[in-house]
Amino acid sequence: MIALLQGMGDGMQDTGTSMARDLSLLAPEIAVVLTAVGALVFEMLRLPRAALPFTVIGLLVATGLTVPLIGTETVVFSGTFRVDPLSEWAKLALLPATVLCAVLAHPEVKDTDREGTVHALFSFTALGALVLAGAGDLMFVVLGVLLSSLGSFALAAYPRDDRATEGAMKFLVFGSVTSAVMIFGLTYLYGATGSTLLSELGRLEGTPLAAAVGLVAVLVGLGYKAAIAPFHFWAPDAYDGAPVSVAAFLSVVPKVGAIFALAQVARELPAPAGPFGWPLVIAALAALSMTYGNLAALVQEDVVRLLAYSSISQSGYFLLGVVALGKTDLALPSLAVFALAYAATNVGAFAVVAGHGRTLRDLAGLGRYAPWAGGAMVVFLISLVGIPPTAGFVGKLLLFGAAIGSGYAWLAVIAILNSVLSLAVYLRVVVPMYGTPKEARTAGLPVVAAWVVSLILVLAVGLAALGLLGAIA
């Protein structure tokens, strides 16, 4: 909201008509702010039950408002905020994902005090992610990181037990330090270019040192937000302590927002002269993140922690698209499609976990006593591996294509080897699911609704993705 107010302030300097134009282009974001505030108002009126339906409707309206914007490519508020494919597809992926997480949270937060604030925090944090995805200015990057972090800290600490407190504390400390480092480093970028606009980053050409410090700063700040190795340490503990719905939310919404912000920065950076430069740094981070995430996931017994490490590895895959920016037409579509695929898949997998237990032992026999839920989990997991005909396959296909097309075939090879490794990770979940059931658990309606919608999205995106591609490119 702060971001928006500042944006409005900038807009005041323009003429009335351009102000109206800017605001109409920001209609989805405004709808998200109103949703968040509305949920908070219901909480204050002691009607916390109304917060969930209000959030669901508000965010769906915001999604609907995004649809007419598809294909627009422009900037608002003097170039500080972008309405471009990245920001549009971030809204289309993240707002429905937030809706699903809010629904999923219902059984977990029902009848606790401050039930309504959870939904308000979901909306505020999602807004932070959207600000990141559309950032056209360094200040928006900072605001997006802070806005989404503040909400996330509170969400992670919501259960108020030891594990949640410990996880949220680590998250808070880690987030504060990395954000401080980022802000410090960004001053170098400002000093070197004389502007906070991302579109002016091309001026860095003559100042390699400032450029390097600034890039490292951005990588630290956004890498923490996106849980990219080696800035991921908070993620497994924070996810583990938080309610499953919050873990699902944290693993999708702020992460995609931060990756897209990184893409917004990277597409403006001057191309390096030699073989070394920012793409190589990001490629190295991608390789590290994919490999580390999968290896660590391989030894987890808790499915939430397993999915936490797997989401670190999926961040690495996202970076394939960032590396390819500016070198191939596939880069932007690959990021957009993979974001859609990843959001639907991960929320779905967490939804099944929320309904049927969070350790490998709890999931034993799921495929036998609840064949539909088990089948859905299998689809989510093979989508995370990237096996057709799921959404994850199309996303990874495009990412691999982008990497090869931009001359990073070696990175695509590492990614593929990691896909095999990740199959071993996810089969560790599938195998007990078709073993002997320990105890049958029934999932409530919200949980079932969440995974059914995710399943439909995963299959629909998988089957229609190439059609989607036409809309993005």
Partner: protein, 489 residues
Amino acid sequence: MFPLVSTTLFLPLVGAVLLVSLPGASARAAHAVGIAASGLALVGAALVWARGVPTGAGFSQVEQIAWIPSAGAAYRVGVDGISLPLVVLTALLFFVSLVFSARVRERARSYVALFLLLETACLGVFVALDAILFYVFFEVTLVGMYFVIAGWGYEERGRAALTFFIYTLLGSLPLLLAILALYLGSDPNTFDMRVLIADPPLSGLAATLALVAMLVTFFVKTPVFPVHTWLPLAHTEAPTAGSVILAGVLLKLGTYGLIRFALQMTPDTFHEAAPIVAAFGVFSALYGAFVALAQTDLKRLVAYTSVNHMGYVVLGVAVAAAATGAESRTLALDGAVLQMVSHGVVTGALFLLVGMLQDRAHTREMGDFGGLLRVVPVLGWSFVLAAFASLGLPGLAHFPAEFQIFLGTLGVYPAAVVVVLGIAVTAGLYLRAIQRVFLGGARGRWSGMKDLSRREVLAAAPLLLLAVLIGVAPSLVLGVIHAATVALP
């Protein structure tokens, strides 16, 4: 024109969806749906065969729906002389597998639904004319087969299924890179396999890397020594019908891809690499034969002879790539494709018969048997016939295929003819197996063994008849194959 190819392709899937949406269906009803759906698919495949393929005209009966023209992606299916026999083979093997499986009572609905899904995926690989569509079907076969082995296999099924899935996924992902390279290399960018075949887009280093990636994928799938190690484990643990499909259809995906992708889309590089590929084929054929000789488990023995027979196919394809004269190229390629069909028919029959034996005896150790020919004559003679076909007896299915491959090889790589030694070894091992299991004095413990039931005869007979028919009149199949191979540049 009626979209016969697509109808055949999706009929099994419709059956699978029907089964999934009927939660209360009994095992009996599930098998009825399965046999009906795969039977209709077989009829569809037969009608596609009846429509035929014109000589030398590339793909025919093409059906396509534009998806997005700008990205060069579309739903495209069609057949040519190389894929058509494999389509019919696939439909037939799935039909007999489902007939044979009608006794499965344990979670029958899921079992039949998985087989039907697998059938659509396998048919899809053979009829796909879009590289992405091909890859999608290629991977779906893995998922289907994983669950078949993991759900209905024998004792060590968990480990076998895991090895199979991870090994073959590791194998197939390089193909994805190769497909992307082909896509990025073509101008305008397209996944249309017809375009990629007519005008191979890659050259130089890119073509070499793409070929290496494709060889990795298809060697694992075929399988070729040294990446064959998943096969014996998967075969011994898979249920009988699973083994039939694995050996009869899934292995063909490897050699079919070898022809369709490696040979047709990177022809010049393959021409240069042909001696290496041929060496792999020869070694694999000999290795498979000798390792099979050392087996005492009947099912493992059949599994290793598959490595031997598929080695001949790889050799045939390599010879076709290396040959400079049109005659020896067509000869070798005709032989290679016919060998795929023969192997599907004969090995399918062998796995069925071994499965029937195991159902009765609950063991597959050859040393435990003896004199069964007198106890179960129909089963015994069927096995003898299939074994003779497998060892390449003239007048049975493998002979015309292997004969053509060797003839083609003789013209190009005379030294590679040492591979004929493999025939002598397989002859020896099959004769020894027949002698130990079916000849000699009958053991008392098997005296109560029942001979084949009607269902089992129904499952095995079509394959045995076909093994004889292909052996006696190979031109029935060769005519169709030749229509495509003669036109290859």
